[in-house]
């Protein structure tokens, strides 16, 4: 009813008011970030903190601009992005079939395998990194595999959870239309499980982004993690902050995009319950209890 009332209200102002509304909404969202930026700038400009350790924000932004122009940021971002996407795809290509097989085809096998999967999911890839490097060499391959290892577990566990939550009525309908098990899996179970699986992708991408930067610091050349580490090793304080801000903003943008896709998927699935689905403000992958499976 409220929406209807709003629509019936005559449009009183012209374009300028629309632009004003957009500006106001942006400001409503961003004033806290701006305030922190101003605080940062002020604190450093008045020399209330050691400027050698915390350079002014404007200087760092200037540095970021310079690094974008000389192509360094672009190159390292592309490198990190390619590794992250490669790792995610490797994890998806292995994890989704495994999750579907265990969750849909052989749930009883999953019950038996559950403890050992849980133990395996707790293996810390950083402590096994020397072994990965030994088999695959220092460089892109080992990085992608380490990252894929991290992403693999949430994807498997969320796929199993999603598959087990598919509306059984839909499966009955499919069966009554004489669909084969494989066809059911592809046409009914997979689409039904998609929103939950995507929650797993969100968790996985958070973990990927965190660990990729760490791996890049330890075992490769190039990439945003290497950039931060390199600046730190050379005492380029501006460079550390510049690269760190790029990493943080990229991670945040990635989360926003993934959250948007997730909400579209949720909205598309017909079973969505409007007051159960999370608020659209909630752009963070909700910590689902995938290790408790």
């Amino acid at each position: 009813m409220e929406a209807l009332a709003n629509e019936q209200r005559p449009p009183t102002k012209l374009m300028s008011s629309v632009q004003l509304t957009i500006a106001k909404r942006l400001f409503d969202r961003l004033w806290a970030v701006l305030a922190v930026g101003v605080l940062w700038e002020g604190v450093t400009r008045f020399h209330w903190v050691d400027v050698d350790f915390l350079p002014p924000l404007s200087a760092i932004l200037w540095r970021i601009g310079g690094m974008v122009l000389d192509g360094r940021i672009v190159w390292h971002t592309a490198l990190s992005g390619a590794r992250a996407i490669g790792g995610l795809f490797l994890a998806l290509a292995t994890g989704v079939p495994l999750g579907l097989t265990l969750g849909y085809m052989y749930p009883s096998v999953f019950v038996i395998l559950q403890p050992i999967l849980r133990v395996l999911s707790h293996i810390n890839p950083f402590s096994l990194m020397p072994v990965f490097f030994l088999f695959l060499g220092l460089g892109n391959q080992a990085t992608v595999v380490v990252v894929a290892w991290m992403a693999f577990w949430p994807i498997v566990f969320y796929t199993v959870a999603g598959v087990s939550e598919v509306d059984p009525d839909l499966i009955y309908i499919g069966r009554s239309m004489a669909a084969s098990r494989f066809r059911l899996a592809i046409m009914v179970v997979l689409p039904g499980a998609l929103p939950t699986m995507f929650a797993g992708v969100r968790v996985a991408s958070t973990i990927i982004f965190f660990s990729l930067v760490g791996v890049e610091m330890l075992g490769t050349t190039g990439g945003l993690g290497w950039l931060v580490h390199n600046c730190a090793m050379n005492y380029q304080i501006h460079g550390i902050y510049a690269a760190a801000i790029v990493v943080v903003v990229l991670g945040y943008v990635m989360q926003l995009v993934l959250a948007d896709i997730h909400h579209r998927l949720l909205a598309r699935s017909s079973l969505v319950d409007s007051d159960v689905t999370p608020n659209s403000n909630d752009h963070n992958a909700f910590p689902c209890d995938w290790k408790a499976l």
Binding site: L54, I112, I116, H122, M129, L218, D273, D289, K291
Partner: protein, 286 residues
């Protein structure tokens, strides 16, 4: 299926088969034991390192860092989450991007910055882990606050509860399962990233030990450290799981908390058997 006892037996059998394969393959030189040592050797190395060398000391150091950071996060997280989620929609809206950016501050990147201010002592590591663990817990607190059933709040108010009473008797119990999910996720993150941080800028702890073993390439030591770190993470997670089911005894063991998965209406209703207006109007036969 022959009941839970058979399942346990089959589970044990699977574990035994996996360990046996791991033992036999290097022994038969199918994979080189220089690269993947058999578990018996790994365990004997682990015992040797714990008893005769100072691995126990490093383990204690790492554990103290992780637990210290996690404790700070577990105190700060709910505080921040309830504070930003609860007061005003305007504040919440503005805080969302700020919190989002803060939660993306990668611990290993943050470590390089924190070191500038706090040095390479214990404090900087605990700070980084605390920062890392605060956010998942804060998000789950906010999620709890947002999803709390308005009818319950109405009932609470009708019984004359003060705002503090509402928080203590309704909001907190409601959020507790979510808080535990956040806590367990945070604990998992903290172990992974602590090792990464220790591999970079310290001279103690398990991460440092891994780097040492890597440099004098000794596969049994690397695997021993990996077994130890994974074991610690596993034990911590199991402990938190037990704690969860002790503290939050009123929720059943569900496969996945249904907040984010649109299709999990059944689980949601199972956990919270409440009549919601939308269920009544939706007319679905649940």
């Amino acid at each position: 299926m022959g009941g839970p006892a058979l399942v346990q037996l089959e589970r044990l059998a699977i574990v035994a088969v996996v360990v046996a394969c791991w033992e036999v393959l290097p022994r038969l030189n199918v994979v080189s034991p220089l690269f993947i040592p058999p578990p018996s050797q790994v365990v004997s190395t682990l015992v040797h390192l714990l008893v005769y060398e100072n691995l126990a000391v490093h383990t204690r150091i790492s554990l103290l860092r992780a637990v210290g950071g996690l404790t700070v996060g577990a105190v700060l997280g709910p505080f921040l989450g309830f504070a930003f989620g609860g007061f005003s929609p305007r504040l919440e809206k503005a805080a969302a991007p700020l919190v989002g950016l803060a939660s993306q501050a990668n611990p290993v990147v943050l470590f390089h910055v924190v070191v500038l201010f706090l040095g390479i002592g214990e404090i900087s590591k605990v700070t980084v882990i605390a920062w890392l663990t605060t956010w998942p817990i804060a998000f789950s607190a906010t999620a709890g606050l947002r999803t709390v059933d308005p009818n319950l709040l109405r009932v609470g108010r009708a019984f004359g509860l003060t705002p503090l009473g509402l928080f203590r008797r309704i909001i907190l119990p409601w959020s507790m399962p979510l808080l535990f999910i956040g806590l367990r996720l945070a604990a998992g993150y903290s172990f992974i990233m602590l090792i990464a941080a220790e591999m970079m800028g310290t001279s103690s702890g398990l991460g440092w030990f891994v780097v040492q073993s890597q440099e004098s390439y000794s596969a049994p030591r690397i695997f021993a450290a990996a077994v130890l770190t994974s074991g610690l993470a596993f034990v911590t997670d199991s402990f938190l799981s037990v704690l969860e089911h002790t503290v939050v005894y009123w929720t059943p063991r569900a496969s996945c908390s249904g907040v984010h998965s649109g299709n999990s209406r059944r689980i949601w209703n199972f956990q919270r058997p409440l009549i919601r207006p939308s269920h009544l109007s939706g007319g679905s036969g649940i």
